[in-house]
């Protein structure tokens, strides 16, 4: 059966898996954002710990994802658990790094003036530093998200949810009826999900970047 016919017939299943895929990625990114931004803020007065964290999370990123998923199975079993943990681990580095960079690029004079006006350190962070660093932080979240869309496919190896299932099942019975169509629909689905998510980040960026920054 031709590819488009295969897609139409299986539209329901493909859409379901795509939705699962998106949910898995967004959940992991949300957790990683909390951890990444949190670590960046917590280590502001501990530059050594911060650079150690940056290199460690950077090294984790080089670990083959298939291996990481596999390593987590004995600990967390199959399914959603290991998938979310592994994806979160990958997503931390870009978010942590961009939060650090974003906060560093805030003009010191602006923070100095804010302090001189009597803003407390929490107010300076909330009202001055984070809004100014936000475009850079958001870009880190975007990079992580797009990266996870691809890596999440491997999660199917540990029975994680998402479009990876189509690829793995298709490849497992290659030569069989519609095997190639199945794998291909998974791959294309991932590309489309990635594009849509990227597009929504452009939109979020437009909506959430303070006006004064792009005049």
């Amino acid at each position: 059966m031709p590819f488009h016919e295969y897609v139409l017939r299986n539209a329901h299943r493909i859409m379901f898996l795509a939705a699962q895929h998106v949910q898995l990625v967004l959940l992991s990114v949300a957790v990683a954002t909390a951890i990444g931004v949190g670590l960046a803020l917590a280590t502001e007065r501990a530059p050594r710990l911060r650079s150690w964290l940056l290199s460690t999370t950077g090294v984790l990123l080089t670990m083959p994802s298939f291996a990481l998923f596999g390593l987590l199975v004995p600990v967390l079993g199959l399914g959603l658990g290991p998938a979310v943990v592994a994806l979160t681990v990958y997503a931390i580095f870009p978010i942590l790094r961009n939060t650090v960079t974003g906060l560093e690029t805030v003009t010191p004079a602006v923070v100095d003036a804010a302090k001189g006006m009597g803003m407390r350190s929490g107010q300076r962070l909330r009202m001055v530093r984070l809004p100014l660093a936000w475009p850079v932080i958001l870009n880190g979240i975007r990079v992580s998200t797009i990266m996870l869309v691809a890596i999440a496919a491997i999660g199917a190896a540990v029975r994680g949810p998402g479009l990876g299932e189509l690829i793995f099942r298709g490849l497992a019975r290659i030569g069989g009826a519609n095997a190639l169509n199945e794998a291909l629909s998974g791959v294309l689905g991932i590309v489309v999900v990635a594009l849509l998510l990227d597009l929504s980040f452009v939109l979020i960026g437009r909506l959430t970047t303070p006006r004064g920054l792009h005049v």
Binding site: T107, A109, V110, V111, D112, A113, A114, K115, G116, M117, G118, M119, R120, Q123, M127, V128, P131, L132, P210, R211, G212, L213, V215
Partner: protein, 319 residues
């Protein structure tokens, strides 16, 4: 004599791991409504001293009184809300509008919205910016001079009795700077704040200050006097060097003719000058020494010529 507004008592600063004080123990009193300028070369501790007053730099010792209250141990954030602070780089918050920047301290103090709005408009007006035109703009849309006007308005927002200004006009082009200085002096005549102003520009210090504190190497306070007092009686060679040439002519800028009294007639020795000296430098020296004639030295004594001040003025006149 007015009350003391700021009193520094043996305030000093030493950074860990550094030999010697960044600021040597310093005591001074600044009166209410007085405009005091700290001047000195880079690294003389003038900015550090300024920043100790609002505790942006925590003093290593000594005490600071503002308006009769010892503020050395009060909550620094609370203290800073009641001290205006203007810095060279302005430091307007880029994602807030001009109006929001100006209204920031009142907002921190919990003022009502309409009170903040009214105050913001009043202040923008005060610094020469039309509130309707500028209130909604963002800092990036303003020129450097306009940004610093907003910086001054922002510092005045909660009507603090004390303003600290760290080279506020330092990064602004000379023409705009001169205008801002003039406008700021006019503004100060109306608002009578107690101002501590840091600059490395002697001319700016002499022009703006009611009193000028000259800082020297090693962060010591060399002289603290009125501009006229400093130009008339420099404390030492360091101050004399720092004032540079032309102090006698510059001093004239601070005297009004109405203040002058007829001098006693006195015989003054003529000043000996060489023919290569500029008329300007000769007049400066005559003014300094009170000489009323010069002898212009020639190749030999027979070639010497004598000119009186009157002849010098007429010969040098542009007409």
């Amino acid at each position: 004599m007015s009350d003391v507004m700021i009193r520094l008592d043996e305030v000093h600063k030493r950074y860990d791991g550094q030999a010697g004080d960044a600021v040597a123990p310093l005591s001074m009193e600044i009166r209410e409504g007085e405009f005091v300028v700290f001047v000195g070369p880079s690294g003389c501790g003038k900015t550090t001293t300024l920043r100790m007053i609002n505790r942006m730099v925590e003093p290593s010792g000594g005490r600071i009184w503002i308006d009769g209250r010892d503020v050395t141990d009060v909550d620094p954030d609370e203290l800073r809300k009641h001290i205006g602070y203007v810095i060279q780089q302005v430091g307007l918050i880029p994602h807030l509008t001009v109006a929001a920047n100006v209204g920031l301290v009142p907002k921190l103090l919990g003022w009502q919205r309409d009170r903040i709005e009214a105050r913001t408009a009043e202040l923008l007006d005060l610094v020469g910016l039309d509130p309707a035109a500028f209130g909604g703009r963002y800092p990036k849309q303003l020129s450097g001079g306009q940004q610093q006007r907003v910086g001054v308005a922002r510092a005045l927002a909660a009507d603090p009795p004390v303003m600290l200004m760290d080279e506020p006009f330092g990064a602004i082009d000379p023409i705009t700077r001169a205008r801002l200085q003039e406008e700021f002096l006019a503004l100060q005549r109306r608002i009578r704040k107690t101002i501590v102003f840091v600059t490395h520009d002697v001319d700016e210090a002499l022009r703006l200050g009611d009193r000028v504190a000259v800082f020297g190497e090693g962060s010591r306070l060399v002289q603290f006097d009125t501009p006229l007092g400093i130009l008339t009686n420099p404390a030492d060679d360091y101050v004399r060097d720092f004032l540079g040439s032309g102090a006698a002519v510059r001093r004239l800028g601070l005297l009004n003719v109405g203040d002058l009294r007829k001098p006693e007639p006195a015989d003054r020795l003529p000043l000996r000058v060489s023919s290569g000296d500029s008329v300007h430098s000769v007049l400066e020296r005559m003014l300094r020494d009170g000489a009323d004639r010069v002898i212009i030295e020639g190749e030999s004594t027979e070639d010497d010529r004598e000119l009186t001040l009157r002849e010098l003025l007429m010969a040098g006149s542009a007409r």
